[in-house]
């Protein structure tokens, strides 16, 4: 029997992103008469330039050098203040591959040894999800700032353990790897929605489509089993956890609520020959307060239209793809004001006057109907926030302790003030809640039963 061939395996997320940029989604949005929602430099609120600065470098130790770990290493390699001094993976070939992005880094196969490296100030935990807890707790104990990939854990208990450990530790900065929470464009969309851009929200839709098996291959069967933890229900939070968690978190943010209930379905429709038990095609209906529902489908069997969310409201619909957004207004919607000056991608061949959100800048940068200027990837902004916030946090702790000694309560009070202007990023509570939600929606998918969300799940 022919092996099912995953032609897209070699296509990394970075390549996929550039594929999207050159694709005709912008034209599609234009055909539907969309207004790009784009935070312009200098706009108050969304991208606050006064918050960003060339923060001093933070020495990184990256634990987990699989695909995600290597993507993070590649991003850090482009950041002058993100030097990687140590990398770790139990699988030696991954360490070798990772060294290409961090040639000067010390290499480890045991994360406990990496944590003993005094040079390392911040660690990235990018191992398989079910291994996060032990590593995060050890890193906190070792006094390192922690950036933990999502989902935080594969069970409620482990997620809670991480959250409680972080909250008990006031000496280091913790950031959950929900990259959209640090992205200025996503935050700009949030501000627009909060200010009523869509009117009254009525429903939402999200999808993530990519024909890919997610299977990793290795010469050794044991290694291959370890590497395919995503395809095993025992260690995986399914497509909703491993992939959908980011968009699910955004839906909760934009709809400003936790889910009330979830129902779902999941089956293996295409990748049925490799022994996996995690569905490759799922649909979920997640209900929010006031009868607003999110319909979310994820498939590994088809790539059409890739990844986006739509938030439908009585005044407009907002389409968000990664960190780009367009607003499609209803004809009877009131004028917000700013959209008069915003750039529009017109439907008809005779385009109307192209009016930009930031009149002078965007007009100069783009020609009519052309691509919007590129922005830094959400992962970049997320790591930048981690570097800046961890530096500020560490300095504040040092200043307090060297002056007043150990006084945890007073230190925490001082930190609130000292971190007042930190860059937006997901803290442990946000990471915990997103993990709980993803786990529960995945449970609904796997059991076929409606799950009613309980407030006590979020208690710490």
């Amino acid at each position: 029997m022919m092996m099912q061939h995953d032609t897209n395996q070699a296509v990394t997320d970075l390549t996929r992103r550039s594929f999207l940029r050159t694709s005709s989604f912008a034209t599609f949005a234009a055909l539907m008469g969309g207004i790009p929602l784009r935070a312009a430099e200098g706009d108050a609120g969304a991208y606050d330039e006064t918050k960003s600065s060339d923060a001093p470098p933070l020495n990184f130790g990256v634990i987990g050098c699989g695909q995600r770990g290597r993507e993070i290493l590649a991003t850090l390699a482009t950041m002058s203040n993100g030097p990687v001094v140590a990398i770790c993976d139990v699988y030696a070939p991954f360490v070798k591959r990772a060294k290409r992005s961090a040639p000067k880094a010390a290499t480890y196969t045991d994360y406990q040894e990496l944590l003993k490296n005094a040079d390392v100030k911040g660690v990235v935990v990018a191992t398989p999800t079910h291994q996060h807890k032990d590593i995060v707790l050890a890193a906190l104990k070792a006094g390192k700032h922690v950036y933990c990939e999502m989902p935080m854990a594969h069970t409620m208990e482990d997620a809670r353990a991480i959250a409680q450990a972080v909250r008990a530790c006031s000496k280091v900065n913790f950031q959950a790897g929900l990259t959209y929470r640090a992205d200025p464009q996503r935050l700009n969309v949030l501000e627009n929605i909060r200010q009523g851009a869509i009117g009254k929200p009525v429903m939402a839709r999200a999808q993530w489509h990519k024909k890919t098996s997610l299977r990793r291959t290795s010469a050794s069967p044991e290694q291959e089993k370890l590497m395919n933890w995503r395809l095993d229900k025992a260690t995986s939070t399914g497509l909703m956890g491993e992939i959908g968690i980011h968009q699910l978190d955004m839906a909760c943010l934009y709809l400003n609520a936790q889910p009330v209930s979830a129902v779902g379905f999941g089956n293996i429709l295409h990748w049925s020959e490799d022994g996996r038990d995690v569905p490759d095609t799922v649909q979920a209906v997640i209900e929010y307060p006031k009868n607003i529902r999110l319909v979310f489908d994820i498939t590994l069997a088809n790539s059409y239209d890739s990844e986006y969310e739509v938030y439908y409201g009585t005044d407009s619909a907002v389409v968000v793809r990664e960190n780009q957004a367009w607003m499609f207004k209803e004809v009877d919607a009131p004028l917000l004001g700013w959209e008069v000056y915003a750039r529009k991608d017109a439907f008809y061949k005779e385009t109307g006057v192209v009016m930009m959100a930031n009149a002078t800048k965007l007009v100069a940068q783009t020609k009519e109907g052309g691509e919007l200027p590129p922005t830094e990837a959400p992962l970049y902004k997320s790591l930048e926030a981690f570097i800046t916030n961890s530096g500020k946090y560490g300095d504040a702790v040092e200043d307090f302790v060297s002056t007043f000694g150990e006084d945890d309560k007073a230190l925490r009070e001082y930190l609130v003030q000292a971190m007042e202007n930190k860059l937006h990023a997901a803290d442990v509570r946000i990471g915990f809640e997103a993990t709980v939600n993803a786990i529960k929606v995945n449970d609904a998918i796997n059991t076929g039963q409606k799950i009613v969300f309980k407030p006590e799940w979020y208690q710490l």
């Binding site: 060339d54 800046t388 307090f400």
Partner: protein, 236 residues
């Protein structure tokens, strides 16, 4: 006449008019009282001064730094070509010694007091990340981590207090004279407050002229106003 009360060598009287004194190691109090009255007076005066000095020092109460929540604040106000700015910190470390009774309604003249203050440079924040970065660069924070002050003299005049001390910023020490108010506060605390004008350039700090996107080049004013409220506590 031998006025040395501590010689053990017997000395014969030289002058019949003066009282010869022969003091042996076993000098008794009685014979001491019989010694020259001027010598007596000088010894007594010396002893008395020493006792008084000891008493004075014993009366200085030590007040120490308090946690950020207690109200300490040092604020720096400045100007620029674009807009005024301010930076502040709640951390003022150090100790102050004085007799609290001597501070209220002090008579004109010197007031016995000591003070030693330290402010970590990077705790001063404008909460504008770019500005804070520029500030740290110009203060060369990596080399000069603290602003320090040492009180040299506290003087009272017509009920008002004035301080004279050495202020060290950016590694440069300059004498500064600052009128201060010292008020009692609850729980054995004192609040020491004052304000003064300084020039950045006096301490070798070049007023920053950063280029900010969208605003152009900002020229910062050399003169700044420092306002401080230092809450210290006597930890009895």
């Amino acid at each position: 006449m031998n006025r040395n009360a501590f010689t053990s060598t017997p000395v014969a009287a030289v002058n019949e008019t003066a009282t010869a004194v022969v003091l042996q190691p076993t000098t008794t109090v009685q014979s001491f009282m019989k010694t020259d009255s001027m010598l007596n007076l000088r010894i007594l005066l010396a002893l008395a001064t020493m006792a008084l000095a000891a008493q004075l020092n014993a009366q200085l109460t030590r007040y120490e730094q308090t946690l950020p929540g207690k109200g300490s604040k040092c604020q720096i106000n400045g100007t620029s070509s674009i807009h005024d700015w301010k930076m502040e910190t709640p951390i003022i470390a150090g100790a102050f010694e004085a007799d609290p009774n001597a501070l209220q309604g002090a008579a004109d003249g010197k007031v016995a007091a000591t003070a030693s203050v330290r402010i970590p440079v990077r705790t001063l924040k404008s909460y504008n990340a770019k500005m804070d970065e520029v500030y740290k660069q110009h203060m060369e924070e990596a080399k000069f981590k603290n602003i320090t002050y040492k009180l040299k003299e506290l003087t009272a005049k017509k009920g008002e207090l004035s301080s004279l001390g050495d202020l060290t910023v950016h590694g440069v020490t300059k004498p500064v004279s600052i009128p201060v108010k010292i008020a009692s506060a609850a729980d054995n605390m004192l609040k020491i407050s004052g304000t003064t004008k300084l020039k950045m350039s006096d301490f070798g700090v070049t007023p920053p002229n950063p280029k900010i996107a969208g605003l152009g080049e900002i020229v910062t004013g050399d003169e700044i106003t420092v306002e401080f409220e230092w809450v210290v506590v006597n930890k009895k």
